[in-house]
Symmetry: C2
Subunit: 233 residues, 2 copies
């Protein structure tokens, strides 16, 4: 963990994520968490933690965009998923594992809310409804990753690229024009194809006038066609 605590941290009672995560908290527990949490700002390119690091915090993303990834013995990265606000950075192993099984680094400047893992465990162990709440929320994140993996697995290269472009449009930015937060190589690492074929497929989509490309800027000109390509290759 490289960041430094922020000077101004939010009052948890106002936290927009409170309802999502901590609705089942008593005022006592909320105060306890609030006094003992730390908000860390991170910047594009920062590593939040690396595969193999000891797990110290339970953490979730308040803002920004990160990638979760694994690095193989040959040094090649494989991106598990790209996560945004409301997503946990701590996945399900957080209470059972002692060390992280994946790395997280920052794609867009981010603020991470971190709670000491032991304190979190204590609270979860005496507040069953919070524990259930947590299980549901973390389950949703895990299920999203599983579903995404299945969607990617069943598509050919065109479908894969279309699928991830639509994810940026619909899930991440909510608009048809956006700056890609990742390189073509990272897209390749995410969907399991080569960098060259990602570039080639993007070029083809451009030639077919489905998208417009200007460096990192992508505009989805024909979302219907892109959906069709995503669904039928």
């Amino acid at each position: 963990m490289e960041g430094h605590p922020m000077d101004s941290v939010c009052d948890c009672s106002q936290c927009e994520l409170r309802k999502a995560f901590f609705d089942s908290f008593s005022d006592e527990d909320l105060g306890d968490i609030c006094r003992n949490k730390t908000e860390f700002p991170f910047f594009r390119g920062d590593t939040i933690f690396s595969e193999g690091d000891r797990i110290r915090y339970f953490s979730y993303l308040k803002s920004g965009l990160v990638k979760l990834f694994k690095t193989d013995t040959a040094g090649k990265d494989q991106i598990i998923t790209i996560a945004g606000p409301y997503d946990f950075v701590s996945l399900l192993g957080v209470f059972s594992d002692t060390h992280h099984s994946y790395s997280v680094s920052v794609l867009e400047d981010a603020v991470l809310c971190c709670i000491d893992i032991e304190r979190m465990r204590e609270i979860a162990l005496r507040n069953a409804s919070f524990s259930m709440n947590l299980m549901e929320r973390m389950g949703a994140v895990s299920n999203k990753i599983i579903r995404e993996g299945l969607e990617i697995r069943k598509r050919n290269t065109h479908g894969k690229v279309a699928y991830i472009l639509l994810k940026f449009c619909k899930d991440i930015y909510g608009t048809c024009i956006f700056d890609l937060p990742v390189s073509r190589r990272e897209i390749a690492e995410n969907i399991g194809m080569t960098t060259e074929n990602v570039i080639r497929t993007l070029s083809e989509l451009r030639k077919e006038k489905v998208i417009r490309i200007n460096g990192k800027e992508i505009e989805v000109v024909d979302p219907v066609a892109l959906e069709r390509i995503s669904n039928y290759g």
Copy 2:
């Protein structure tokens, strides 16, 4: 749910799975669960539940082998994972979703231990350590599915087939000779390739004397070579 309750059900205090799942139970809760669980026997080919069915039970596999899968609009199946004893059949959505998002059917005769979902929720809501225990156990199953998906995604066809054969060897049967519980088509549905290429790859592995094939029976003659193919294509 098509099965019929079994005549003889195990006394939960003796359940070999008790330690794994219900270690945090008080005797009271254990008795409660024990009286209210139902064990269902299922047979090869049975459907345990289908995508879209209402979730009625929290359930886990005591014995046997099942496949979890989704069916797309064209009627094509995609296998999420093959699960054995100690695996949950209920994945993480079980407490937050109302309907199943995948189907489960039986590959090898199985016994399912089912607990009414509402009763399970009640107990989890008043027993935080059970709730945590459950989160850890379900998290482990989800993580396994995610990991498996990543391993499959990064391999070419030879690597994929080698990977799944090694899964049968090491994880499922613990022996180098086994009867495949699935068809070539189901392998294809699991690892995202065509049936023909699964058959072809198996034939090639046979010609290279890495495996021996006799119908459904597979013998891994050269596990080291198979590992190499799994890791390096």
